[in-house]
Symmetry: C4
Subunit: 355 residues, 4 copies
């Protein structure tokens, strides 16, 4: 089977992963409307490609928070990579480094942050944080991440409670016994860890904007907030001093029937007015999706499920394949739209109103 | 089979109910366009969820006409509950009371109002009235309902004649011989009761707004009018002194190709300008639908067919399951949208224009 | 099989008619887009039904050009009724008279105008005219129609050439040898009658608005022009002195991808400003479609294919069934929308913009 | 099998061509969205047909760059005609001449320009040019075309690199060994000709608007630029002195999710304001599509895949069949819309906004 585009990896993963793992990765909240809208919304955007521009020398590099990456696609935080590949997040870290891009490691990794760091020394990595009711746990993780050389702290804002993913409920999803939430080991010793490997309601639903200041007091890392979908919250994020915003709806796994992320990006970018960097995740399936996101103001996009499909295909090597395909497609779509480097990408390239 | 969401109950009911009963409950008028639009219209509404708001303590209670209910979902009036479960409306009354919500008992119940009252003393109930050509019958029912402690009188305004439900015509639908329209027994003795257990054309198609005054003369109960779909009629309802309006198209069973109720709600709420309470029924299938209805100005929603599916599943217990799922989903969607109590719900939470 | 709605008759006709006849009646031009749009466009219109209006006494009669009909649905001109039922147009004439409505007999009838008149003396009938290159033929038909008591002359304006109906081309459609275009017998003696029973290109494509004056010189009958789809042509029709306009796209059989007739009706009614009566055909499948057409300004609608399905079902009796169903549905939808007679129907009843 | 409309030829070609050849001709870039949109966009445009205009004498001829053609449909440049029919471009040239229309021969022909010219002396032909990194090759081709009597030079602007056509990648598409890019023979001797018969990246991606001046210096032929999709580029084209613009997205084979060509035509025509001739290709499947394109300002359309289907059916004869069907359909749709010659076609004939 030739792996030509990302949906080839999706088909592979669906065929070879255990159903319970596939369902967990694929799950969306409720009717999965938002999960699917993330993809459909890209298809509603039309390019306005420009011709006869010199695209003989293509430069697709960019910088996020000052660090250069080989192209504007990073790896979004997702949990439980060992469900996709035995080496789990270690493979992810290696692939990201090999492709010179950024990997956001999840609190819910099945490898420790040390293991992840050791697997790919020098790689550009950010750490994604869930704030638990047990704040000491969160505090320790932040400090550990900084100490290990992670270069950004990503606070997930859209999960005060876990969304209702029907398939997980039907499957009675739990981590297999030989996998652990390695970064939280010991923190919930003896508790009933029935919700995604944690005690039910272990996350802190009382987190508010003021907790940005608490995080700021813990670390010198730049803080990126993930899960913003409105201009109002974008403004609040800027006012509370974050360095970056990831427009995200958690892959459609939290509140169903919220906006597609590429639609929300437009209003967030408008509200932010360049004061902080804005990224987006959700629904990226082709290099031209990346081009659309950048045209609409994203500095970089992050991929979630496609990275897991790559892992499921061939671990580190499979994820590199996924990234390389996106990279080639992105470069080609830039060239065909008439842009030789990312600074030439702008809103003139797209037309939003077309159904 | 795990009962995870309301469509699981729908699938169960479709499988286990006699076809003629399923068809009767499922029926819509003509092409069933409005029946289906009631559901589709909710899907066209997008949330604008807010992040990082303290949602650790959730309060989902509300009040309707001064009575507190545990969450803003009541039971809409539907007929013939014995078609779904042997105990019929008695089970419905018990489930509503157990879940601390309001049950609107139909004129076309297969239990008497006394039986319904006795089954769940102290429960919050309203009585739904059809006005028959034989006005004495209607008058007696109103007085009986008031005497039995029903706390509201719901006048159905959209059924001067019965809509054309093709499947009922094909099936030659009639109540099975062992079921009776208990509240109308004796009223039509000896007549040909071939239309839904009543003589054809027994309802009075000459009812007009002035009959609100007639009802007012019969009872001190608050009067709620059900079936309003336009701003003009909303204004008339307020002027004629009703206490509440249920935006309803009778589940799409009357005039096909009228508006979806959630669409009509917007114009009714705008016209009413807070002078009376506005409710909505039709198309509620998820907790987030309730949230959308409240964001658009409904004080509470009422469920019709889903209640019948619950009854068909396990009677009183099944209906409680349905209500509990809606309650959990509503609470979760509120939290994920950033609201800790119903007073925080408002139009800022939704975006209407998105297809 | 219960005949509950018009699509039941359609299914019957599709099953029992010879394929070549079914295909001929069902045919649309090219991709059949306009044929199907005629139906879909009705579904995009939403009612704004009004409640609590006295609808105990319903009066659904109307008048067209001064003649009363029992309800605002007549029979559009269609050809070759013997393909549907042995008695052909004689049955159509009888059914129309029995239901007290208007029948527009086609130039392309398989019975003579005398036979049609004799079959149902006193019935309200109009005669539909195609102008042939051989003008004497057309002139004679007009005079004969007037002499036989036809009360209107309908000039078809949209067929300078016959539209391309792919199935007819594939089937090599021709009238069976025992059927004749009875009204044209002798006119084309000896010619190659391979195009729908006539010599190819026998119609006159040079007809212009001035030919209205020629027709006027031939007859005192009111002239109705059929096939108008734009405001410009509606204005021209009024200026040339016609008494009525039928908004029609020939059932989608001529220029494909023109407007649906119910959409075109709006602009024609606006242009005409009440100076002449406006009718519409195409896509009427339910009583509520009639109500929509009247709400948008049509004085009456005409049905084409549904009449043929009725004939195919049981001749005169089947067509009466079709008309009676439409009548019952129209009366019910009027009542449910809050109208007791046709003068209460108006644009306030509908909302156009809803997709 | 009757060949009634263009999709009959498509079905034939799909059935009888080798899969790899069919896939190559049918291919679109990435998800094939733009390829399919080219067709769907025509369906969103509604005619506003006019009645009772004298259409007895139809004249469908037009002129492009001063040369008369029998109707406004030419043959777009496509490669590798021998994949469809053994005689390849020689058959295409003969059919175009027989039908008195224009054939744009591709750089990627499987016959030499001499062979093409000799096959149909006196035919109206333009030559389509790709500019190779090896400019001498391109220069020689331009001069040869002029010498051979080609009457226009079409510069393709949208292929700095080849689009990603997944099926071609999966199939490992290559020209069969017995076919050659005859016009480029010798130019890339000994190279690895693995990309569509050429060395990878043999085209020059540094071409800019200034190269129009270089082409101008090589030839006196009118220069037509192909692949323009925006008003900005249309303005640049006019300013750089081209004689014509072909609005094209390369049949959806280059940048996926750009605009449908008929949509882009509107903005290009508006920008050009009549200063040069504008043509369009992509998505033409019926005579009425041609009428729509002309109504929106195109002087002429060009067909790509349909020409190949005609060749695949019966070579020269099959392509004539395709052209004759389009011609008949175009003439009929003009007449049914009320136009007797192309000068009567204008924007009043169409309505764009209808979904």
């Amino acid at each position: 089977m030739a792996m030509v585009c990302l949906s080839d990896f999706e088909a592979y993963a669906k065929k070879y992963l255990p159903k319970i793992a596939w369902d967990y990765f694929a799950a969306g909240a409720d009717d999965c409307t938002t999960r699917d809208e993330n993809i459909l919304a890209y298809k509603r955007i039309r390019f306005r490609p420009r011709m006869l521009r010199d695209v003989s020398i293509m430069d697709i590099r960019t910088k996020i928070l000052g660090s250069e990456i080989s192209f504007p696609v990073g790896i979004a935080p997702t949990g439980f990579h060992q469900l996709a590949w035995p080496d789990g997040e270690k493979s992810t870290a290696r692939a990201a480094r090999a492709m010179s891009t950024c990997y956001i490691a999840s609190t819910y990794s099945t490898c420790t942050l040390e293991e992840i760091s050791a697997a790919a020394p020098g790689g550009l990595r950010w750490f994604q944080l869930y704030i638990h009711r047990n704040r000491a746990t969160s505090q320790q993780l932040v400090r550990q991440a900084e100490a290990l050389g992670f270069r950004g702290l990503v606070l997930t804002a859209d999960l005060p409670y876990t969304g209702k993913r029907r398939d997980d409920v039907r499957n009675g999803f739990r981590l297999p016994p030989h996998m652990k939430l390695k970064n939280l080991e010991g923190a919930f010793e003896g508790d009933d860890c029935s919700e995604y490997g944690l005690p039910p309601n272990s996350l802190d639903p009382s987190v508010t904007w003021n907790d940005i200041y608490w995080l700021r007091s813990l670390t010198r890392l730049p803080i990126i907030i993930k899960g913003i979908l409105t201009r109002e919250d974008a403004e609040l994020a800027v006012r509370h001093g974050v360095q970056g915003i990831i427009v995200s709806n958690h892959g459609g796994r939290q509140l169903d029937e919220g906006p597609a992320t590429i639609d929300a990006l437009v209003e967030v970018v408008e509200a932010v007015r360049g004061r902080v960097e804005v990224y987006v995740d959700g629904g990226i399936r082709k290099g031209s999706d990346v081009l659309k996101a950048l045209a609409l103001g994203a500095k970089c996009v992050f991929i979630g499920r496609p990275a897991l499909w790559g892992l499921a295909y061939k671990g580190e090597e499979g994820l590199q394949d996924v990234l390389r395909i996106l990279q080639d497609e992105f470069r080609l779509s830039m060239a065909l739209a008439g842009c030789a480097n990312v600074s030439e990408i702008g809103p003139h390239l797209v037309q939003l109103s077309k159904l």
